[in-house]
Every structure is written in structure tokens, then in C-alpha cells.
């Protein structure tokens, strides 16, 4: 089997004439925890739905565990755990009945693990799904996805609606799954702290394109925010490539630059700044910079 558990090739998707995904290429190797980020309506859920065969692509192909998404067999479906955005469950079923259905359909159902999860999350088996709060539905959905012992876990904003304690419990569970050898997770979330905590590779979608696709550490290494103080007023332009943000105020200039290196340092030194200090950037800071207009300039391999 291909070592890339998830493969997306030149994916294009139009909704009512509007381009949502514009030539996305993405590979997620086995055992990787991939954090897929983007603003609202950036196309994260669409990529996930196309991967799972729930949505047809306009152009391009996607593969899950070596099988084309439009033609996934029941066996491949059985190796995937999926938590949908908004926790798409059968609303008119009682929790117990839903669990029974999932158990009957999943050959690799781990009863012991599921019971552990229901106790941890205190899931009520005798209530209807529609009567549960969003948080409880999220917990139920997570438990059902994890109890199938999946090779690939696809989580579309899974912590949406969870309180801080439940979110922490979920992250611990995710780490538990990760520790089981060979498990792959594709994880989309708006809570960047969660992604930063567990992801080892990041993809950022902006304007229909995957503008960032690299390791988390590599991303932090590549995108730098620098504060430059000049003896007199700051120059209007440093003539540097790959500057994604620049703010001037008197003698001070703050720039965010991609692929900071010795050559760029030398170019800055031409303007003789009296000091050049790096401002630490969190993933959230990088995300905000990456999702600004004109994101092409910050794409990294």
C-alpha cells in the first residue's frame, strides 16, 4: 500500500459556479497527525467530505488508504473513523440504539474501549440523540468513531461545542490513539491551541489554495516576525521578497517574513538598523498572517 494514507491530487470543487477548492494537492503519510486549518468556508469540510466520498469533486482525485474516494469499499470504510462537523448522528434514535447499530456494522468494534469512553463522558444510553446537548453529541460522535479502532481518524472540528474539560479529555484520547502505532489523524479545527498541541504537520487553506503544507516546527522556523529599530525613521520599503506583513511607526518597523535566511539578513543590514529582534509567533499568529489576502507568497513545501 502507498505510504501516504491520504492523497489529494489537483482537487477542484465548484459550488454554484463559485470555486471553493482550486487545485489542492495534499499527502498525509502513515502515522502523521495532520492539522487542516482555514477560515470559515475556506473548504476544509469540503476536502474531508470529498475524501470520504460524501461529495463528488468537480475535478481531480482523492485517495484514502490507497482506494479512490468515489469508490471506497465497505472494508476501507471500516478502517476510517469520522467525526463530522456539527456531529451528524441519527437524531431520532436513542443513544443505545445508535450504539447498537454502529456495533453491529463495525467488525472491529472495541466494546471495552467504548465502555471506558461512555463512562469518561457519562453518556446517557436511554436518551434520544436530539435531546442531547451539542457537547454530549460531540462526545458520543467521538466515542463512536474511536470505538471502531480506525486506521485513519478524520475529525472535522471535533471539539466544537465541547467545554474546556471535555476538550482536554478529547485531546488526551487523541494522544492515546496516536500512541497506537501507525494511526493517522486528519484534524480540522478552529482552536489552534489544540492543533498546535497534537499536530505534527499543518496545512492552511486560503482562497481555495493550500498555502501552507509543512511540519509544524518547520512552519515556525520559516515564518518569522521581526522588530527592527532604525536610527532615524524606518524606510518605506526593505526590498525583501516574501514579506507578508509590514507595519511602520516612526523608527520602528515590524515585518513578518517567510524563509528568513542569511541573505535576507544581509539585505536588512544595508539599512543599518540599530536593533533587530525576533518576536515569538504562535501558530495562531502564523495562521492570521497566512490567511491574509495574497497568500501565494507564503506557500512552503
Amino acid at each position: 500500500m502507498d505510504e501516504n494514507v491520504i492523497r489529494v491530487e489537483n482537487l477542484v470543487k465548484y459550488f454554484d459556479g463559485r470555486c471553493v477548492l482550486d487545485g489542492i494537492n495534499l499527502k498525509v503519510p502513515q502515522g502523521c497527525i495532520y492539522g487542516l486549518l482555514g477560515r470559515n468556508a475556506a473548504g476544509k469540510t469540503t476536502i474531508i467530505r470529498i475524501l470520504l466520498g460524501l461529495e463528488p469533486p468537480t475535478r481531480g482525485q482523492t485517495f484514502l488508504l490507497g482506494a479512490e474516494s468515489t469508490n471506497l469499499s465497505a472494508k476501507v470504510h471500516g478502517q476510517i473513523g469520522y467525526v463530522a462537523e456539527g456531529h451528524n448522528l441519527i437524531q431520532n434514535y436513542k443513544v443505545g440504539r445508535l450504539v447498537k447499530l454502529c456495533k453491529a456494522l463495525s467488525p472491529q468494534w472495541n466494546d471495552e474501549f467504548f465502555n471506558h469512553l461512555t463512562e469518561t463522558f457519562r453518556l446517557p444510553m436511554d436518551r434520544k440523540v436530539r435531546e442531547l446537548s451539542i457537547g454530549m453529541r460531540a462526545k458520543l460522535n467521538l466515542s463512536l468513531a474511536m470505538a471502531t479502532e480506525p486506521e485513519v481518524l478524520i475529525l472535522d472540528d471535533p471539539t466544537l461545542g465541547l467545554d474546556t474539560v471535555a476538550r482536554r479529555q478529547f485531546l488526551e484520547l487523541a494522544i492515546d490513539v496516536i500512541q497506537k502505532q501507525g494511526r493517522t489523524i486528519l484534524f480540522s479545527s478552529h482552536i489552534l491551541g489544540d492543533v498546535e498541541r497534537i499536530a505534527d504537520r499543518i496545512g492552511i487553506i486560503a482562497a481555495g489554495k493550500l498555502v501552507v503544507d509543512c511540519g509544524l516546527e518547520e512552519l515556525k522556523e520559516r515564518v518569522k516576525k521581526l522588530r527592527l529599530i532604525f536610527p532615524e525613521s524606518a524606510p518605506a520599503n526593505l526590498h525583501l521578497k516574501e514579506i507578508i506583513n509590514q507595519q511602520n511607526e516612526g523608527r520602528e518597523m515590524v515585518i513578518t517574513v517567510v524563509n528568513w535566511n542569511q541573505q535576507k539578513q544581509a539585505l536588512v543590514d544595508v539599512f543599518k538598523p540599530s536593533s533587530c529582534t525576533e518576536i515569538p509567533m504562535s501558530l495562531e499568529d502564523i495562521f492570521i498572517e497566512c490567511t491574509k489576502p495574497n497568500p501565494e507568497s507564503i506557500a512552503c513545501s
Binding site: 470520504l52 469499499s73 456494522l105
Partner: protein, 212 residues
């Protein structure tokens, strides 16, 4: 697959109960018709069959519509596709459930007809002829019912638009008089089979290719 069929039956149990009740009513009417036949005209009982046929014409497409519409509305297939299940299996389970509902209606009726014929027309020379007639009636009624059901499946997946729904019901009302015009036999069977194939292919294509 068995789990999927079981789920469909449990979710649409009302249609199975309805089919059993309708079948029961028709069995009682048949027995009464034979008993009263010697004293009066059986035509009055035949007249009572008309509401039953109307219930059948409306009920079967309604079951198909209900299966597909509730699935689409509640995104049941989207949830099931997150489990070791394919779209093809989901649709196949729905169709098998529809067939089972039709058989719930038809099988008791057919058994009753055979028993009544054995009791009231046991003469050997004409027995095989009756048996053939019952087979023809069973096949034609089954195909007609299945065609109405397939129409419902097709209509149910085309969202909540009222025009295709009304069109589907109107078409179902056209299907039944076809039997009256053509009679029971091979011609009507071929016609209905072609209609069923066309309807199922269309439903299959739409179900397999649209977003869930």
C-alpha cells in the same frame, strides 16, 4: 447488510403493519365474497377492493418517498457512510425492505387465494389453470406494486419539490389501469419490468453520485 435491512424495517414498521392490515382486510373480504356468493351478487365486495387498491397506490410510493426523504433530510446515509457501509449497500437495503413490505401484503393474500381455490374449486382438470392464473396475478400485482414503490424512491431523493412528487403519484395512478387494459400476463409483466429497471437505474445513479 442484514443490519441495514433490519434498521430500515424498524424505521418504517408502520408500512409493514399497514400492508399486513390491508392484506387481512382483503382476505376477510375474499372469504365473505365466497360465502355470500351463493345468495347474492359478489360485485358489492369487488367494489370494496377499489379503496384497497387506492391505498396501495398511495402507500407504496409513500414508503419509497419516506425512506429516501427522511434519509436525505436527517442525513442518515452520510452517517452510515462513516461506518463500514457503502452507498450501494444502503440503497440495496432500502429496496429489499420495500420488496419485503410488498410481500407482507401479497404473500398472505396469495396463500389465501390458493387455499380458497383448493377448497371451493378442487377439481383436478381446472386446478392447474387456476394455479397459473394465480401466478400471473401475483406476478403482475407484485410488479405493479414494486413499480409504484420504485417511483416513490426516485421521487423521494429529488428533495422537497412538490412537482416531481405529484408527478410520481399521477404516474402511479396510470400504472394500475395498465393492468386493466392489458390484463394479467406476459405483456404487462414485460412493460412493468422495463419501467422498474428505468426507475431503479435513475435512482441508483442519483443516489450514488449526489452529495450525502
Amino acid at each position: 447488510m442484514f443490519t441495514l435491512i433490519k434498521r430500515e424495517i424498524e424505521d418504517h414498521i408502520a408500512y409493514f403493519i399497514g400492508a399486513a392490515i390491508l392484506s387481512g382486510i382483503l382476505i376477510v373480504l375474499s372469504i365473505l365474497a365466497i360465502h355470500v356468493h351463493e345468495d347474492s351478487e359478489p360485485i358489492a365486495f369487488v367494489g370494496l377492493l377499489i379503496p384497497a387498491i387506492i391505498v396501495l397506490i398511495i402507500g407504496l410510493p409513500a414508503m419509497g418517498v419516506s425512506q429516501m426523504y427522511t434519509d436525505k433530510n436527517r442525513r442518515i446515509s452520510a452517517f452510515l457512510c462513516g461506518l463500514p457501509v457503502t452507498r450501494g449497500q444502503i440503497l440495496a437495503a432500502k429496496i429489499i425492505t420495500g420488496i419485503l413490505a410488498i410481500l407482507t401484503f401479497l404473500v398472505p393474500l396469495t396463500i389465501t387465494a390458493v387455499v380458497l381455490l383448493r377448497l371451493f374449486a378442487p377439481l383436478a382438470p381446472i386446478y392447474s389453470g387456476y394455479s397459473g392464473l394465480i401466478f400471473d396475478i401475483f406476478i403482475a400485482t407484485f410488479l405493479m406494486s414494486f413499480a409504484c414503490y420504485c417511483l416513490g424512491l426516485q421521487t423521494g431523493w429529488t428533495s422537497s419539490k412538490i412537482t416531481p412528487t405529484l408527478g410520481g403519484v399521477a404516474l402511479a395512478f396510470v400504472l394500475v389501469p395498465l393492468i386493466l387494459v392489458k390484463g394479467f400476463g406476459l405483456h404487462i409483466a414485460v412493460l412493468l419490468v422495463l419501467f422498474i429497471i428505468a426507475s431503479l437505474v435513475r435512482t441508483w445513479h442519483r443516489f450514488m453520485s449526489t452529495s450525502l
